[in-house]
């Protein structure tokens, strides 16, 4: 398997669109969208994010991209509430959400481990 990816956004459309884009370059990577407040509105959802983290986790780790500060707060909360053994292999990445997700997905597709995937996302500037 490979490292999975979760895209957390305040907008369901953004999260799903990013997954769509990234999956084109990384068809075999587990990419999961966690966008919106879970009831059709703009916002983030602790429950959606928690479920996405589980879904993306193949055992090889999960890189998490997010759009805005409040998405970060909700995601950190979700990591804290999860089993520590599991939370340990789930890393929130400080990177531009679209550009970072694509770079991370490509790195994961290439068999990169969690730290390589995280590094790829961090370096993403969108100048390709």
């Amino acid at each position: 398997m490979s490292v999975g990816l979760v895209v957390v956004s305040h907008s369901a459309q953004v999260a799903e669109g990013v997954v769509e884009l990234a999956s084109q370059m990384a068809p075999s990577v587990r990419l999961v969208a966690a966008g919106g407040d879970g009831s059709g509105g703009v916002g983030t959802s602790f429950d959606l994010i928690s479920a996405a983290l589980d879904e993306a986790d193949t055992g090889d780790g999960v890189a998490i991209l997010y759009d805005l500060g409040s998405a970060l707060l909700t995601t950190e909360m979700a990591l804290e509430m999860a089993d520590p053994d599991v939370a340990e292999r789930r890393v929130i990445v400080e990177a531009p959400v679209v550009e970072g997700a694509i770079a991370a997905a490509v790195a994961a597709e290439g068999g990169g481990g969690l730290s390589a995937v995280v590094a790829a996302a961090r370096e993403a500037g969108g100048d390709a």
């Binding site: 959802s45 602790f46 429950d47 500060g69 409040s70 509430m81």
Partner: protein, 212 residues
């Protein structure tokens, strides 16, 4: 409230929900000025869910009530205030443990723990124009009051300090949260989260004084 037991705590929480209903338009208005205009709606959604859960099954200790509030807000609020208030209630719940009733010192300590939780979660300092600007002075006031006051005294002191401090967020420039996108333009508006914190503490004080 006659001895701050589980029932009194639950009643106080219902009172908080009521307060949010009353003020949500104003909170949303504040958030429209320096944010995305959803703070009132976020808290209404959260506290309505809390009341539903209390109606369905009211927990047996103050700590369990606070924990229910925490997990419900975390799951339902949908904005930054969800994990922030959620963490606050969670830390308060942990602090009071499984005590059957809360005394003034415990309430004050729970408030401190709540504020520490918000800082740990959001990394804001006093002066960043966030709910911390209301929380911190409230904690200070509560600690002084707890030295010889009742639970009602502690909460009255906290509420008064938070109200004052919330209004004093207006001249600040936001350095955390969405409002920080506005830079200087955030000056001149009260921070929505500081204001809701003040309302929540006022509501607790009212409950504790027996009037709620």
């Amino acid at each position: 409230m006659a001895g701050c037991d589980a029932a009194a705590t639950a009643a106080a929480v219902r009172q908080m929900a009521e307060t949010i209903e009353q003020h949500h338009t104003e909170l949303t208005h504040l958030d429209r000025e320096i944010g995305d205009g959803d703070h009132g709606a976020n808290l209404v959604r959260g506290f309505r869910a809390v009341v539903e859960k209390l109606d369905a099954d009211e927990p047996g200790t103050p700590g369990a009530v606070l924990k229910l509030v925490a997990t419900t807000l975390i799951s339902t609020v949908g904005g930054a205030s969800g994990p922030l208030f959620g963490t606050a209630f969670l830390r308060a719940a942990t602090k009071v443990g499984d005590a059957e009733t809360l005394d003034a010192a415990t309430v004050s300590d729970a408030l401190s723990a709540a504020a520490e939780g918000v800082v740990a979660r959001g990394k804001a300092a006093v002066g960043d124009k966030t709910m911390i600007d209301a929380f911190e002075p409230a904690v200070q006031a509560a600690q002084s009051a707890a030295e010889e006051g009742s639970v009602a005294d502690v909460l009255e002191a906290a509420a008064a300090a938070a109200e004052q401090a919330a209004s004093e967020t207006a001249p600040l420039e936001a350095r955390k949260g969405r409002a920080s996108y506005l830079g200087e333009r955030s000056v001149g508006h009260v921070d929505p989260g500081a204001q809701s914190t003040a309302y929540l503490l006022r509501s607790l004080a009212t409950s504790a004084s027996g009037a709620g």
